[in-house]
Amino acid sequence: MSEMTIHLKIWRQARGEAKGRFVDYTVEKVLPEMSFLETLDLLNEELTRQGQQPVEFDSDCREGICGTCGLVIKGTAHGPNPKTTTCEVRMRHFRDGETITVEPFRAGPFPILKDLVVDRTAFDRIQQQGGFVAANVGSAPDGNAVPIPKLDADKAMDAASCIGCGACVAACPNASASLFVSAKISQLSYLPQGGPERGRRALLMIGQMDREGFGDCSNHGECEAVCPKEISIENIARMRREFFKGALGGHDRKAATGD
């Protein structure tokens, strides 16, 4: 267990302030088995003792499933390792004496609240536009009444694994939310339960994505590369098909837009 010294270049931005800046810090006695967020904890303990303002960042489960944490580490959303969230990044992936830049997930629709904390409620507003099956409690048939082929269930599960962290948006040059939106649209399109609202759902969710100011997809593939849950870009192609089917179906269009 060799202790490391790590230099951090961290984005600091006061609440409500328009302009932020990088501030340099050094953290001593970092152990390789520590997580990246535990290194930030260590820094914050030190800053608190010195009477300085700790660095604000979001985290909760610290095991890669809640989607709360999200930092751009060394220029990559969730850091240099594939298939991991920020809280899963371990310090053994960095060198003693290394300088690491740390930034928030940057995107127009994700305003910075303070330091490394951003507001991702735009995702919630997209989900509210049809990202569900309208099935009231009490109306469900037996769970085995409708058999679902294992392959379809597995594909739905692959898409449903999205944790809503927003790394796809932060990595995209267009700040597109296409991977996030397509994951939900795909999940429900693979399942018979999602069928009745398919077209309407695609039109409404994509419409809200546009209104929130997210860009469109131009097939860079950066989203898929940083996604901690390996959500496939194929979902975006599927989303487009769902959208066109919805737009061509007059019934769905009327339900979604009223015209």
Binding site: T48, R49, Q53, E63, I65, R92, R120, F132, P147
Partner: protein, 639 residues
């Protein structure tokens, strides 16, 4: 004065109680529902499920959570599965058997009527979740798949890979999203409930802190529901998310709600062992791993050879040896304590000696690597990222960790606390798991409370009437808000020398050492004295940076740790008063010659519910006797 509590269990045969009770609950007509406002704190399976369902029914719901969005409530982290007595596997399951297993698993310390209702409602949960698009695992024929979990001999656990909690929670989140769009539910993310407002003896509102601006806010309602989860982070290191706290239920306790069985905590047997002092949490490895993994330690104490170098004959598969009938699938409390016994005898492995092996070599030989990867791949990946070792080749190292709290606010059959109009659901209440929770039962309880029980019982409460109009201008709101403000200003004003984490860490050490898996009188008394010292020191020496009118994570934590420093003492007092061993509560003075827990049904077959009598005053211990009319009370055995 000790009171005998009335759980208001409906009369009649066990199997008919809930149906009859539903019929007897008065209703609110559809057009009148929007006139009622319900505050729901928490957006997990219980809180979010209840908020969405009440919204569907037409009530006006205000839903609060500390997370940045409701989709991150800690239900999201549950891995293994959800139980339901569907008997899809034709292996003899039934409502009766799930009821029996759950009461036995809880070591005969849970309430029969509640557990039976839970067992009945379990089937509807699966149906509802499938209808909402939850992608449960399926067989090639298209039917739902099941697996087995600890403490039972049937396969009744439904799952979505190792992410069942996530998928169920996303179902809740989507139902909530729909109601938010419909205007029935209003969501308040990044809002922390800091106190309860009681007007004329009834729960009528809450005071919250907006975690972005720091602003204190008041909300009034006709009923308040707390579904804020458990309090495992009182141990500092636990498998819970770092923002899990007792604050909402603790504040309600201090306003008059009784706190039941605070000492009943679940130490989960299979977490990644602690590696160092820097750690912020422990990572759970799902109980489902014990379906195929075999737990062992070297037979000889102090054997530091690599696991591969220890021949078969020199290994002790201690669960298989001690519990041949259930083997590696004994309940959590039994497996956790058995691991501790081996480590305390010097047979623990790894650098610290506080770990045992969970070995998949036989499973890989029997099933092939692909099948094992399909079942547990995501868990193996998590393990490898943290420990930098490959569990396909080297056995996992695991050790018990605080995971779930069976204790919580006392509620009657209607999930109503001792404060009228204050309901408590999910892990935040105490009602269904007795002294030990079986695997895959937490998700079941969360969904049952959320989708089915809360909507019915809260409607019954509202329909009975007698609720005058109360607004946030009422004096009671002002008084509570002033108290909250003073409390947080006081924390900032200490300007001492030690951080919030320093104190939380110290508290966690005391709780783990003396109020953990093995408790005795001297240790508990020492713990109480030490916690009082820590609490005293906290209010004189804590250092909280920044100010109240800002985004301030350290201040949030400071408030939560202040509450843990009070709750920890009550847990130790409860453990001290309960002179028996049952489930997760193991008193060193009370065990059988084989080292198993020894209950004292004559003196302790009851719920202990504590009443706050004022700061610095001893709380009062009340009891609710537990009556078993439908189940034969036995010594729990998994041998």
């Amino acid at each position: 004065m000790s009171k005998i509590l009335d759980a208001k269990i409906p009369s009649g045969p066990l199997a008919d109680k809930w149906d009859r009770h539903e019929m007897e609950c008065p209703l609110v007509a559809p057009a009148n529902r929007r006139k009622f406002t319900i505050i729901m704190v928490g957006t997990g399976l219980a809180g979010g499920g209840a908020a969405a369902t009440l919204g569907e029914l037409g009530y006006n719901v205000l839903n609060f959570c500390v997370q940045d969005t409701s989709r991150r409530a800690h239900s999201v982290a549950a891995q293994g599965g959800i139980n339901a007595s569907k008997n899809y596997q034709n292996d003899g399951d039934s409502v009766e058997r799930l009821f029996y297993d759950t009461v036995k698993g809880g070591d005969y310390r849970s309430r029969e009527a509640n557990v039976y209702r839970l067992s009945q409602l379990s089937m509807g949960i699966i149906d509802q979740c499938v209808a909402m698009g939850v992608p449960f695992a399926r067989e090639y024929g298209g039917t739902l798949a099941n697996r087995s979990f600890g403490g039972v001999q049937v396969s009744r656990t439904f799952y979505a890979r190792g992410q069942t909690g996530q998928q169920l929670l996303l179902g809740v989140y989507s139902a909530l999203s729909r109601q938010i769009a419909a205007g029935t539910v209003k969501m308040f993310p990044r809002h922390e409930m800091l106190d309860l407002v009681v007007v004329d003896g009834k729960a009528r509102g809450i005071v919250c802190r907006d975690l972005v601006t720091g602003e204190m806010k008041r909300y009034a309602a006709d009923a308040v529901v707390l579904a804020t989860g458990g309090y495992s982070p009182v141990f500092y290191l636990s498998t819970n998310a770092v923002n899990c706290s007792a604050t909402a239920i603790w504040r309600a306790y201090k306003r008059g709600a009784l706190f039941a069985n605070p000492c009943y905590t679940q130490i989960h047997p299979t977490a990644i062992p602690q590696l160092g002092d820097y750690q912020s949490k422990l990572t759970l490895m799902s109980e489902s791993l014990r379906n195929d993994g075999r737990m062992w330690v070297p037979k000889a104490p102090g054997d530091k050879r690599r696991p591969a170098d220890i021949p078969e004959g020199e290994r002790d598969y201690f669960l298989e040896r001690r519990y041949p009938a259930f083997g590696n699938l004994v309940p959590r409390d039994i497996a956790a304590r058995a691991s501790k016994v081996e480590c305390d005898a010097g047979k623990g492995v790894g650098n610290t000696g506080f770990a045992v092996y969970l070995d998949f070599a036989d499973a890989i030989k029997r099933l092939g690597r692909d099948v094992v990867a399909d079942r547990y791949g995501n868990l193996f990946t998590m393990y490898e990222e943290i420990i930098a070792d490959d569990p396909y080749h080297t056995p996992m190292m695991i050790y018990p960790a605080p995971h779930y709290t069976m204790g919580g606010l006392w509620v009657d059959y209607n999930l109503e606390s001792t404060i009228p109009g204050l309901f408590v659901a999910g892990e935040a209440n105490f009602s269904d798991h007795g002294a030990n929770r079986l695997g895959a039962s937490a998700l079941m309880q969360g969904c049952a409370d959320g989708y089915f029980v809360v909507p019915r019982v809260v409607a019954g409460y509202l329909a009975r009437g007698g609720l005058g109009k109360v607004t946030t201008e009422h004096d009671a709101f002002g008084a509570v808000e002033d108290e909250v403000r003073r409390r947080y200003d006081a924390l900032l004003a200490v300007k001492g020398s030690r951080t919030v984490r320093d104190f939380h860490w110290d508290l966690g050490r005391v709780m783990w050492d003396k109020v953990g898996m093995d408790r005795d009188k001297a240790g508990l008394e020492a713990a109480i004295a030490r916690i009082r010292e820590l609490r005293e020191a906290y209010w004189h020496d804590v250092k909280v940076p920044g100010d109240a009118a800002d985004f301030n994570k350290q201040l949030e934590m400071a408030g939560r740790v202040a509450d843990f420093l009070e709750l920890g003492e009550l847990m130790a007092m409860d453990a001290l008063a309960r002179e028996e061993s049952c489930g997760g509560h193991f008193r060193a003075e009370h065990h059988t010659p084989e080292g198993e827990a020894r209950r004292d049904d004559e003196n302790f077959m009851h719920v202990a519910a504590w009443e706050h009598k004022g700061d610095g005053q001893a709380p009062a211990r009340h009891v609710e006797p537990l009556v078993y009319e439908n189940i034969e009370v036995k010594t729990r055995s998994y041998k």
